[in-house]
């Protein structure tokens, strides 16, 4: 709580002093910059957490500004004015949500294309605003109305703006510390991993974009009252560009960064633009430098100095509580491949793969490099789409479902190269995995679920030999490869999926660690009575763990039998290492 209240309080105090210290005109100017700052804060949260760069926020800013102008011109009562303005903000959010979810559905790397689309939209918006005099007053804009509640822009309107700024700051600071903020960060950290944990990332992106749109829209409402006139520039490209620059230079990873950037840079621009002809070029150059060298902007630089002065508090051991059960636990089931083909570009990777697993047990998948083992897992989870054939789990088709639907079908997957959230700590990684399939929507806005621990994870951490227990506060990027394997295994198994797909879980592990991993795998299967599909190269592990062995070669099933039978199989021996072992 302190981390929310203190900065907000400081902000509030500072801003309240401005009219008395610097006079009403300065307060009027700062008011405008704060309005810009609110837009920038929304951009900063979206960009800093999810990595999405919106190049046209003035679409929302400008359209609600125009709407507010119309409302202030035509509607008399304050109550109705407020209701309609709120409605305009909500509509902006809804449109933003629909746009983002449409673009981000499917591929995980649509970010740059999305930026392009927002750019195109703002160019169109500006054109429309200039050429529709009936709606927007054309080039001259809309004016001649009273500000909301007749608040004077040189007087009390300032306090309304300050109030909205502080509320927006508190909201974002709070989100940072709630599960919602954690999940938003996870989107830009490792979207495929988040999808395999069952999160529909396109909807998350949609929600965060909608929130940034609503912040921009709220600022637009204030803008109309503050300026007394709304012109096409408020829906235009140039202002959108400025928002991005202010956000970047101010610092997109801190909530106060964009505010700082907007106030400082907009003020400097107003002061210097006429006298210093190289100002615009300087700003562009600073922006490029920040982007390439110092992505955290001014706020990051300031906070580094701040951290040196104020020593970090030793955080106490959090007390964990029991997590609720996984939604919709399903019984174990057989996996059935029927003439499955997979083509990527010009290459045929799987050519008619057909097999049916038992409902329980450990099936090891072996085969030479390039046989299609990882691709087999990819078509099960939907990371790649099979071009022909069917895949059935418990008699239901799963081959056309997207990756984020895998976990709700009871499929958990560990990737070949350990895929976890690198910018987060071990503890945060486990928290995200615990939220998967357990949290309802309202849990993301409460701090309690951050302390959830499932019984399974607690038992894992209780293992003496497991390297994770003592490293909960360590950032994953500092962990060695082997530890990341164990972390990813824990995260994958956290929701107790009935079908666990493990891609080379023992790669990079020492002998002792390999023993531990194989023990954990066997324990998992025994406890959940589910099915484990395991890609392995090490025959001793295959011999120890497998109930059945699936041999893949050049995209086809060469053999599917017990280890002993496969070992004796002449075809398999011929293909594997040309008969050396």
């Amino acid at each position: 709580m302190a981390s929310i209240v203190i900065p907000s309080g400081l902000l509030l105090g500072t801003l309240l002093l401005i009219p008395s210290l610097f006079g009403d005109f300065t307060a009027y100017q700062i008011g405008l910059f704060l309005i810009y700052g609110i837009v920038a804060q929304g951009i900063g949260f979206l960009w800093g957490k999810t990595g999405i760069l919106p190049l046209g926020q003035t679409i929302f800013f400008g359209s609600t500004a125009y709407a507010s102008a119309h409302i202030l011109i035509n509607i008399e009562t304050l109550g109705w004015q407020l209701v309609l303005m709120l409605l305009s903000v909500l509509i902006a959010g809804a449109i933003a949500y629909v746009l983002a979810t449409m673009v981000f559905r499917g591929k995980t790397d649509s970010g740059p294309y999305f930026s392009l689309i927002t750019l195109a939209l703002v160019l169109i918006a500006e054109q429309l605003a200039s050429t529709s005099p009936n709606i927007t007053g054309g080039f001259n804009g809309l004016s001649g109305y009273e500000p909301i509640a007749q608040l004077d822009p040189f007087g009390n309107l300032y306090y309304l703006i300050v109030g909205v700024t502080v509320v927006s700051t508190m909201l974002l600071l709070a989100l940072n510390r709630l599960p919602a903020g954690l999940i938003a960060r996870a989107v830009s950290d490792n979207e495929p991993r988040l999808q395999l944990l069952g999160f529909a990332t396109h909807k998350i992106k949609g929600l965060v974009f909608a929130m940034s749109a609503m912040l921009a829209a709220t600022a637009g409402v204030l803008f109309a009252s503050h300026q007394g006139i709304v012109t096409p520039t408020s829906a235009g490209f140039a202002l959108s560009a400025q928002f991005i620059i202010w956000t970047a230079v101010g610092g997109r990873f801190h909530v106060l960064g964009p505010l700082l950037g907007s106030v400082v840079l907009a003020w400097l621009t107003a002061e210097l633009r006429d006298d210093f002809i190289y100002w615009e070029i300087s700003i562009a150059a600073i922006f490029i430098l920040v982007v390439l060298k110092s992505p955290g902007g001014l706020a990051e630089i300031i906070s580094i100095y701040f951290k040196k002065l104020v020593k970090a508090q030793v955080s106490e051991e959090p007390s964990y509580c029991a997590a609720p059960n996984v939604k919709s636990q399903q019984p174990a089931a057989t996996l059935q491949f029927d003439q499955c083909h997979l083509q990527v570009g010009v290459v045929q990777i799987l050519k008619g793969v057909t097999f049916t697993t038992p409902a329980q047990g450990v099936v090891c998948i072996i085969g030479p490099n390039g046989a299609g083992k990882t691709s087999l897992l990819n078509v099960i989870t939907g990371n790649l789409l099979a071009s022909k054939g069917t895949i059935l789990l418990a008699e239901k088709h799963i081959h056309c479902r997207p990756p984020y639907a895998a976990l709700s079908s009871g499929i958990g997957r560990k990737l070949q190269v350990p895929s976890v959230f690198f910018s987060m700590t071990v503890g945060e990684n486990l928290t995200v995995a615990t939220l998967a399939q357990r949290a309802k929507w309202y849990h993301y806005f409460s701090a309690k679920p951050l302390l959830w621990r499932s019984a399974y994870i607690s038992s894992l951490l209780a293992h003496e030999a497991l390297p994770l227990t003592h490293n909960l506060a360590k950032q994953v990027s500092e962990l060695p490869q082997g530890h990341r394997q164990f972390l990813e295994f824990a995260m994958t198994a956290a929701a107790q999926p009935r079908l666990l797909l493990l891609d080379e879980p023992c790669a990079g592990l020492s002998t002792a660690e390999t023993h531990l991993m194989t023990d954990l795998i066997r324990q998992y299967q025994t406890q959940t009575k589910g099915l484990v599909l395991l890609i392995e190269h090490d025959m001793s592990i295959v011999e120890a763990l497998s109930d059945k062995v699936l041999v893949l070669h050049q995209g086809q099933v060469l053999a599917f039998a017990s280890y002993v039978e496969v070992k004796a199989n002449k075809d398999v021996a011929a293909v594997y290492a040309g008969g050396t072992k």
Partner: protein
């Protein structure tokens, strides 16, 4: 006899995780070094360190007496280093003919069409549409046809039919006679023992066996493979 390629104290990896430690060997002209070990021990990492797509964190690599630690891969090729990767070993989107002409001067590849006739039949076919074994053969011939005398091969026989493996063996032996140095990474011990003069066995990124062919029995090699 001149030493064509040597490395000492070589260590490297991917970002934070170091994969290979303290590897060293020296290969003379007309000699071959055989590298073997189970999957995941770092053999391919060694190949990429020598070829240059990975930067070594420690140690030296000398090519014909020159220290090539900071030389980019294409320049190592121009100095005479040829490479056949284990995966992604052809240009999928180019035809067989284009794959062959891109590395070598025209005409050199044709000499190999007699040995591997299937290639000649598929000159206009996109490389990515061929089977894994055929792609290996294409990459092998591409490497052979290049104007290089230090060649590094990463598991060339994997997925290749036995007749073609023995043809590869003949080509490599002929190359040795011409004075090239060969570094051959293989799981196929028969091919390895036919071509190599020295052997380097690896486990967990470290050298666990290093001696000449004569002093290393097949049984000893199998031990390294099943530790």
């Amino acid at each position: 006899m001149t030493e064509l390629i040597a490395f000492a104290g070589l260590a490297g990896g991917y970002g934070d995780s170091q994969v290979v430690f303290n590897l060293g060997a020296s290969v003379q002209a007309g000699q071959a070094l055989g590298v073997f070990g189970r999957n995941g021990v770092g053999k391919s990492t060694l190949a990429r360190l020598l070829q240059g797509s990975l930067q070594a964190s420690k140690g030296t690599i000398t090519l014909k007496g020159q220290n090539i630690a900071s030389t980019p891969p294409f320049q190592r090729h121009l100095l005479g280093l040829g490479y056949m990767p284990q995966t992604a070993m052809v240009f999928d989107e180019l035809t067989v003919g284009e794959n062959l002409s891109i590395g070598s001067k025209s005409g050199l590849a044709e000499a190999y069409f007699e040995i591997f006739p299937t290639l000649a039949e598929r000159l206009k076919q996109k490389a990515g549409t061929m089977s894994g074994g055929e792609r290996k053969i294409l990459s092998f011939v591409r490497l052979m046809a290049e104007d290089t005398n230090i060649i590094v091969l990463d598991e060339p026989s994997e997925g290749v039919q036995p007749e073609n493996i023995s043809r590869m063996e003949q080509c490599l032996l002929a190359r040795k006679k011409q004075g090239s140095s060969i570094i051959l990474i293989e799981q196929n011990l028969t091919l390895l023992r036919a071509v190599a003069d020295q052997l380097l066995g690896m486990d967990a990124g470290k050298p666990v066996l290093q001696s000449t062919l004569a002093q290393t029995s097949r049984a000893k090699m199998l031990e390294v493979l099943s530790i």
